[in-house]
């Protein structure tokens, strides 16, 4: 069967070429040799490793992961706790804390004064979801969202916590979530990498937590599956731009000569690697066109730009990246990973989070609506959230108007949209102190298992054998949370 398939593809390839001639058609034909491609590369990959993916019909084909780096305060955004207002300034009861370990930043604090939010909460939509005044645009689309109020994690510091979210392990060295999908499901398009990465710096606390390129690294998977960073500026993918002064025609010509000379080598040495390399050069050539095309938003109509907000035209902002994310999803990029820095608000949280929320609120909502109006939301999963939550007590001195919050791993809020998760739904509950989960806890591995499930993958079966052990994104735990699925 496998052989028949291959035969079919090869024949089609020739047929395809004849039809279009050898100009642009030739380029398209070369793309069939492409490793990112779902047709040839993936077919080979799957049969070679026996992956047989997807395991079952997927609900989602693509993912946009809006990572809020630093740990957004759930208590100021979504998890409304009136008791904290009532008890403002009183100490966190030991019975609530129950021995939870604290970071070194507050473990020395003499008091743990409880603090509610400075921002007003209201209920919105038919789903009556609670959202604070910080997120007016998000408030308007709550009926599209599936809130998880009961996320919890194992790490209390940024580096291990963000690594845990991205790779399923606090220790470095494992592949990022996007790399797993690139490896397992391959690419849906022939011109762009399957796993792309966009970074932006928040205005809340612009310089707080760094990012590390290993967060989108391929770990022990082939480096074909590493996240490819799309950057603002003249070289959106590293080394993408031809030297100044070289025309596309000249580049094409050089590649033709290279291919021809390489082909001669292949004839002599019989090394199949050479063919692979020829294909890589063709993919590189196509990326040189497709990436700038994707990055260029000049063709976006005014009303769409408006939707995402004024910053959408400022390259490198979260809003611009959300718009790009939509463009990438439109082009069938499998996994778009955004990171927005600046949520690590230990002090002066009210003023910081106000700016920070403004960075992301409108554009996040716009992205979801925009995907929806294009019919893409139904098979695109959007995930929003950080690496942990923040404490219900103030870090530093609590005043009438000001407070800070330390890291809190025991409960925090995330939301998802599209991709077969229940819209207008809230899952899980925290106690009145907003400190512990009282209903339906969802561990990081549960989230990862559920995301995989939506992509048609049984997370317990999707493994990669490395150093004799079968590794998986969810390590040795994780359950699909069916309650949040349509």
């Amino acid at each position: 069967m496998e052989e028949l398939n291959k035969h079919f593809i090869n024949n089609n390839r020739r047929h395809f070429l004849k039809k279009l001639g050898f100009g642009i058609g030739g380029l398209a034909a070369a793309s069939l040799l492409d490793p990112f491609s779902s047709i040839s590369g993936q077919a080979q990959l799957s049969s070679a490793t026996g992956l047989h993916l997807p395991h079952f019909a997927p609900k989602a084909k693509r993912i946009v992961y809006l990572f809020q780096s630093g740990g957004p305060s759930q208590l100021d955004l979504f998890d409304y706790k009136p008791l904290l207002d009532k008890m403002r300034g009183q100490d966190l009861p030991d019975s609530v804390r129950n021995g939870q370990r604290l970071t070194g930043m507050t473990s020395g604090q003499e008091r743990f004064p409880l603090v509610g939010s400075n921002f007003k909460f209201k209920q919105y939509g038919e789903s009556r979801a609670w959202v604070s005044d910080l997120m007016p645009y998000t408030a308007k689309i709550v009926d599209e969202l599936c809130f998880i109020k009961s996320m919890h994690t194992e790490a209390i510091n940024h580096d291990p916590a963000i690594t845990f979210f991205q790779t399923g392990s606090q220790q470095t060295g494992r592949p990022s979530m996007g790399s797993w999908f690139s490896y397992g499901l391959g690419s849906l398009n022939e011109n762009l990498p399957a796993f792309t990465v966009l970074l932006s710096r928040g205005t809340g606390r612009p310089f707080s937590q760094p990012l590390y390129s290993r967060l989108w690294g391929n770990g022990f998977l082939s480096s074909l599956h590493q996240g490819v960073q799309f950057r603002s500026g003249k070289d959106p993918v590293l080394y993408l731009k031809d030297p100044e002064g070289m025309t596309r025609g000249e580049r094409r010509k050089m590649l033709d000569y290279i291919s021809e000379l390489n082909y001669k080598q292949e004839q002599e040495f019989g090394d199949p690697e050479i063919n692979s390399r020829i294909a890589q050069y063709e993919m590189a050539y196509r990326m040189q066109t497709s990436v700038p095309e994707t990055m260029n938003i000049e063709d976006e109509p005014e009303h769409i730009i408006k939707m995402y907000g004024a910053n959408a035209t400022t390259p490198g902002t979260y809003a611009a990246n959300c718009l790009l994310a939509r463009r990438l999803i439109e082009k069938d990029v499998r996994f778009v990973q955004l990171y927005h820095m600046g949520w690590d608000q230990h002090f002066d949280l009210p003023s910081q989070i106000e700016r920070q929320a403004k960075d992301i609120d409108q554009a996040t909502a716009a992205l979801i609506l925009d995907l929806k109006q294009r019919g893409l939301l139904e098979d695109t999963l959007v995930v929003w959230g950080g690496e942990f939550g923040r404490t219900n007590y103030s870090q530093g001195t609590l005043t009438d108007t000001n407070y800070g919050r330390d890291h809190h791993p025991k409960c925090f809020t995330m939301f998802m949209a599209g991709g077969g998760v229940k819209p207008g739904f809230t899952y899980g509950e925290t106690d009145d102190f907003g400190y512990n989960i009282v209903k339906d806890p969802m561990h990081v591995h549960d989230l990862q298992a559920t995301i995989m499930n939506q992509m048609g993958i049984d997370h317990t079966k999707f493994t990669y054998k490395h150093q004799g052990r079968r590794f998986r994104l969810t390590d040795v735990s994780g359950h699909v949370v069916n309650d949040i699925l349509v």
């Binding site: 940024h158 074909l224 080394y239 040495f269 890589q280």
Partner: protein
């Protein structure tokens, strides 16, 4: 930085040559069919079992060997529940020991999983062949299964008497006599007899010798990481002396570049970097240790001493300063300064890292799997893991350091000390005294406990220092410290140390290890392709006083090494992965070599030994866009010489490593790494085409060719081609390149006509030669050794 626009201004000209070569290209399938791989894998013990077994037509071996045929199946599919880890063992059955496999099981101890020679009574046979989901082994819930082939193997093994053998790598190597071969003319030295023996068994013949040009290129890269100069090639090609090649080898082994090449590999093993690696990823000073590594290789410090100094130099009686510097090896792990972390949590991680590095690098074992529970596959208990961990748990160190803090223990190295005894440290006068992290057992009272699930805050039983007894029990006579550990590593009865070391050297020279899983010699690791050769090499290495240069010379002097990398279709079909070495592997240049080659052949390379790490070109903004604002917030490119140093000196920031290096599969340096990936990606193509360093090298080489005014185009093309690929182009290649040169010149004129008339003939020539050189740098051959 050089830009093409400087020599050429242009308007867009649509220039679209129909890529007729694509006709050729599509005729060729990108890779051979899977079935061809399977054909080899069916009798290749290295092959991945699952792919092997999916083919029902594969013939069973006549005689089933426990090590080669049976244990890989048992380990991979059964050990999770019936293996070394007592904590998850089901039904009291363990299949990883002889006693366990033959033992009576069941409630009344009246059943046996395996009864040698008796299929009917062997419960295993019934269970693996069952169709009842309640009965079948492995159970469906494990997501594991056995193929029909594997079931037959296990059954036939029992039928043939279920003969047991101990794990091969835990039996100390014994030097067997070199085997007899039919073609006795071919071998140059002992290695070749072992290689040829297997080829003859498989009905294969070795390939012819590589051309002298290919050979000298390969040996230059393998031993020095740099390409040969044209003079070196000419001298070798014209040297008809029988020892011409040996003279080259000796010269290379004696060159300083040899140490740099060897160090490049060792820096991966040692997870060397110039930053601390976690979170804000602050700068550290470990380059003096790196300088020591280069020096140690160049002075051919025997491997046992090389390791002893690095693991326990500080504990040697009357330790010299140099020996203490060497212990920096075990301080190369990552260190955090993240505010708020729990100190002990990270201190424990550092000790873990040292334990795992020792295990991976020196023992080829995945001991880290025994951190949380007994090892699932290998006979390493959790207790034994912590016994080993204990050796590295006596350092008085912090888990979290402050910004600006140089972690303790450290030593201050003065100019006077450098002058007197550490001349290998290339410290510029401009920088103050160096403080270098080193090892010390300055918390010698610290006790070691088993950590439940590997967690820092869950100590249980106290353990004393020791080593896994399945490998070799720790002799009572040895001191219970790192010095004793080194003596244990180099004990004649230690079955792993020599094999693992020589296997890694073999990988460097031949492209893949004799055990392809260089980091795993355990039950889940690959089996050696040439077990007797591996043992012969291991024992010889020890007998020759752990002399690394001598062993490398032996390898590169072998007929095996001298073969061409040309592969006939038959050979590719018979052995696509070149396990049997009937040809040379067509190995790609490493990340370091790709760049160093471009610098060297263009004349840009500044060949200076050692010193602080340097910051050559990298795209703007990479550090700035991810920084927290603390530590290294901006990459400030060096000026002058430091832009053109060998790549092993490039500053390594762990959280944002040099992008072009990472694209070419350099190790991340987060953890000990003994093997790099070998991939081919579009991002690599982009680096080769557009990295300003490559463009600059192209321009520099083009300029030097144009300065040779007596040469004509054809002669220049030949020279450029030779410099980059080490061989003369063939006539059709030269013509093709001349053609390209001509059209690039025309193109330049076409594009320049309507713009400012400042372009003169020189600009045109330089442009055309620059793009021509860039083209040649992009040929596959330019990034292949030989």
């Amino acid at each position: 930085m050089f830009k093409l626009k400087d020599i050429k201004s242009l308007k867009l000209a649509l220039y679209f040559i129909i890529p007729f070569i694509l006709i050729l290209l599509i005729k060729y399938k990108i890779s051979k069919n899977d079935s061809e791989y399977l054909a080899l894998k069916k009798d290749n013990p290295n092959a991945n079992l699952s792919s092997n077994s999916s083919n029902p037509n594969v013939k069973l071996p006549d005689s089933i060997d426990y090590i080669f045929h049976v244990k890989p199946i048992l380990s991979d599919r059964c050990y999770l529940c019936h293996g070394p880890d007592g904590g998850t063992r089901e039904a009291g059955l363990r299949l990883d020991t002889k006693e366990g496999a033959y033992a009576a099981i069941g409630e009344h101890l009246d059943k046996h999983a395996i009864v040698p020679g008796d299929i009917e009574s062997s419960r295993m046979v019934a269970r693996i062949n069952s169709t009842d989901p309640e009965q079948i082994m492995p159970p469906p819930s494990s997501n594991l299964s056995l193929s029909e082939y594997e079931k037959k193997i296990l059954t036939k093994w029992i039928e043939q008497g279920a003969v047991w053998k101990d794990h091969w790598s835990f039996i100390p190597p014994v030097k067997k006599q070199t085997p007899k071969v039919t073609n006795a003319n071919w071998p140059n030295n002992d290695i070749d007899y072992f290689i040829l023996k297997r080829l003859e068994e498989k009905g294969l013949k070795p390939s012819e010798k590589a051309t002298k040009e290919k050979l000298i290129r390969k040996v230059y890269f393998d031993l020095t990481g740099l390409p040969p100069t044209l003079d070196a090639i000419d001298a070798f090609v014209s040297d008809t002396d029988e020892s011409a090649y040996e003279k080259v080898v000796d010269k290379l082994l004696a060159s300083e570049a040899y140490g740099e090449r060897m160090a490049s590999n060792w820096l991966d093993v040692a997870r060397y970097a110039d930053t601390h690696g976690y979170q804000d990823d602050l700068e550290r000073t470990m380059w003096p240790w790196r300088d020591w590594v280069i020096h140690a290789f160049n002075s051919n410090l025997p491997y046992n001493e090389f390791i002893k100094w690095q693991i326990a130099g500080d504990l040697l009686p009357n330790a010299t300063l140099e020996q203490i510097v060497a212990t920096g090896f075990n301080r190369n792990h990552k260190i955090t300064q993240e505010g708020g972390v729990i100190d002990e949590e990270y201190r424990v991680e550092y000790v873990m890292d040292r334990t795992n590095t020792t295990s991976t690098a020196l023992l080829g074992l995945t001991m880290e799997c025994a951190r949380c529970h007994d090892h699932k596959y290998d006979p390493i208990s959790q207790k034994e893991f912590y016994s080993m961990y204990g050796f590295f748990n006596k350092v008085k160190e912090k888990g979290r350091i402050d910004y600006d803090e140089i972690p303790e223990p450290n030593i201050k190295i003065t100019d006077k000390e450098i002058e007197e005894s550490l001349a290998f440290i290339h410290k510029p006068d401009s920088i103050p005294d160096i403080k270098l992290m080193v090892m010390a057992d300055d918390a010698s009272d610290r006790q070691t406990f088993i950590l439940k699930r590997g967690q820092y805050d869950a100590p249980t039983d106290k353990v004393s220092l020791g080593t896994p007894k399945a490998v070799l029990s720790f002799p009572e006579t040895l001191p219970k410290n790192r010095l004793g550990l080194v003596d244990w590593l180099f004990d004649d009865k230690n079955p792993l140390t020599a094999r693992v070391a020589i296997n890694r050297i073999w990988q460097q020279i031949f492209g893949a290890g004799i055990v392809s899983t260089v980091d795993d010699f355990g039950n889940q690791g690959a089996l050696p392709s040439h077990p007797e050769l591996l043992d012969w090499l291991a024992v010889t290495f020890r007998e020759k006083g752990w002399d690394m240069k001598q062993m490398i010379k032996l390898m590169v002097m072998s007929s095996t090494y001298l073969q061409t990398s040309k592969a006939t279709p038959e050979l590719i079909e018979a052995d696509p992965d070149n396990v049997l070495l009937a040809r040379s592997s067509r190995s790609k240049l490493t990340a370091e070599m790709v760049r160093d080659n471009a610098l060297a052949v263009s004349g840009l390379l500044v060949n200076k030994l050692g010193g602080p790490s340097v910051k050559p070109y990298q795209p703007e903004g990479l550090w700035a866009e991810t920084t927290s604002g603390r530590g290294l917030t901006k990459y400030i490119m060096d000026s002058g010489e430091n832009q053109y140093r060998r790549s092993l000196y490039t500053f390594w920031k762990r959280t944002v490593p040099p992008p072009a290096m990472i694209t070419f599969d350099a190790a991340s340096r987060d953890l000990c790494s003994v093997k790099r990936q070998k991939t081919s990606t579009p991002l690599q193509a982009l680096v080769m085409l557009n990295d300003p360093q490559l463009i600059e090298a192209s321009e520099h080489l083009a300029k030097s060719m144009l300065n040779a005014e007596t040469l004509n185009d054809e002669e220049r093309i030949k020279q450029i081609f030779r410099k980059i690929t080490s061989r003369f182009p063939e006539a059709d290649e030269t013509n093709k390149l001349l053609d390209y040169l001509e059209s690039s010149k025309e193109n330049f004129e076409a594009n320049s006509e309507t713009s400012e008339p400042h372009t003169d003939k020189h600009d045109k020539e330089l442009y055309a030669y620059t793009v021509l050189t860039s083209l040649i740098f992009n040929l596959d051959e330019a990034i292949v050794k030989g």
